[in-house]
Amino acid sequence: MRKSVNRPPTPDAGENQEKEPSVREIVNIKLIESGEKERLMELLRERLIECGWKDEMKALCRAFVKKKGRNNVTVDDLIHVITPKGRASIPDSIKAELLQRIRTFLVSAAL
């Protein structure tokens, strides 16, 4: 997390937020408020299905469940195991497309 040199130390987690929000948060809020986040999510879902990524993840999940046994797996287990693999296998073209969309949005939002 980037910190400005002159910034006071971050207060403890648990206190209500009064500090300056991070860039990430601001962008997120702007995306949600404008409805762009929902559109981007739909676009992402579509692309990931098209390229077969979703099917690959499904297969990975199935293999994991088969290995551990159906009654020994929780959703949390799956999330912890599959998430890193999922993030790593996203095609670059999709990353590029989404980033481009976000950049365009930020430019228009800043105006």
């Binding site: 987690a13 648990g14 937020q17 948060e25 997120n28 809020i29 949600i32 408020e33 929902e38 739909e42 077969g52 099917d55 690959e56 499904k58 297969a59 929780t74 959703v75 949390d76 999330i79």
Partner: protein, 556 residues
Amino acid sequence: MSTGNPSYTNPKPCKHLADYKLRHGLTGYRSLQKLFKTTPNGRTSVEKPNTTMPRCNSCNGFQGRLYFCLICSTVSCSDHTLLHNQSENGHDVAVDMERAELYCCVCCDQVYDPDFDKAVMSKHIMGIPRDKNGDESIGERLVKRRRLGSGVVEEELVDLSKSKQLVSMRDRRAKSCYPLGLRGLTNLGSTCFMNSVLQALLHAPPFRNYFLSDGHNRETCRKRSVDRLCLPCDIDAIFSAVFSGDRAPYSPAQFLYSWWQYSANLANYEQQDAHEFFISVLDGIHEKESKLSNRNRDNGDCLCIAHKVFSGQLRSDVTCMTCGFTSTTDEPCVDISLDLDTNNFSPKNIANKPIKSNENSSISTLLGCLDLFTRQEKLGSDQKLHCRNCQEMRDSVKQMSIKRLPLVLCLHIKRFEHSPVRRMSRKIDRHLHFPFSLDMTPYLSSSIVRNRFGNRIFAFEGDESDISTEFEIFAVVTHSGTLESGHYVTYLRLSDQWYKCDDAWITEVDEGLVRASQCYVMFYVQKMLYHKANEDLSCLPISPRRDTFLPIAGCC
């Protein structure tokens, strides 16, 4: 075992969910309904009022999955759900906010409750404005699924095993004696398109039974009707001839003449399209029979034999991409025309195992074609439709599904591409893999609509269908050659033995040959009717002359 998909039966709740239900019942779900937000794509999420971005109560994090406590509405991220649960006794069950799915904080696992899903779906259906056909709205009636009498099925299966023994005994005695009803049809001049379809009709169990049990009496018909042209009479004549026991090839000349009179524009010696012929024959039967019975019902409820056997209903859902309003239309159909699935579409087999679309899978399958037919199709921006809710032209998504299955399912593969632009027609020779047993459950409206809303445990209207979804193939009309000069051959499956019907020549063939053929129109009949038909065949008396069947060429 009840028919229907077992994955939609209720999974057992964990101890904590059960406890929660005991103590709070449905009140938590009901108050949560106000916070549900639905999208046109069928997704539901939980939105806290007056907050753009929900945050974890413990760490203020906003990333990853966030869970909303059902009891105190506290939001926790996945790292802190346990923390909340430990600090507050009994606060075990939460809702994944992004997905509107139940989560047990103690088990650290997703849990399921049909009542919760019902609460979600009610909001969804309420959120979609009703269309004019109020009764026909998707899932409007929350109906419990009825179990079909499984006892009946089991009884029949037991009987079948007995009759199968009889058949095999008979086979040993007269091995080359073909079942009744197999008779070649002479080619009267490029009429293989007609012969191939006739062979399929002759062995469509309910169709066959109707004519063989004098469903259309020629004497009565001649007296009642002034119009001498009667396709059902001519078909009845063919049935009598083919099932007489005489094995010499039969010339359906009278029928051809009648059909020419009926469809004057197709009356020539040119090769016609077998599928077109099939549709025109059904039309001819319907027209005649509805004249006789003086009833002018629309195709859906028509009681003519053609519609009784082949008529089903297709459902078309068009969803506005802006507001989610879905307009549903039901249309009757006597067959389904399918586009071939190509590499671009990732096929799934019946167990829903994904076939990697990265591989160069050049196999087209019937299930792939059905998937293609029932997929959500984004209509192009040049095909905007008027949304009744928005009162504007909007981008829409269209999805087809099968509302009601017929007794005999006719699947037509669109192999002939006509391009009006280039004024050319071409044939697609691509091989299509097709199964002998077909379960149509995933293509029913209830399944398609259910999938559209994610996997909710929810009984949709239409689940209690009396018609089973399992089909067995009994006839395949195949085409070989080019568009201009090609040949139709039908393969018939009688008592699990395949026969090749090539105009006047009928031969026993191996199923491998059938699988390798280029299917064009496939006829599937409901499984129970298929087995019953086989039973009937084995009980029919062998022709008195006991001719051993030799493929004899008829005069052409």
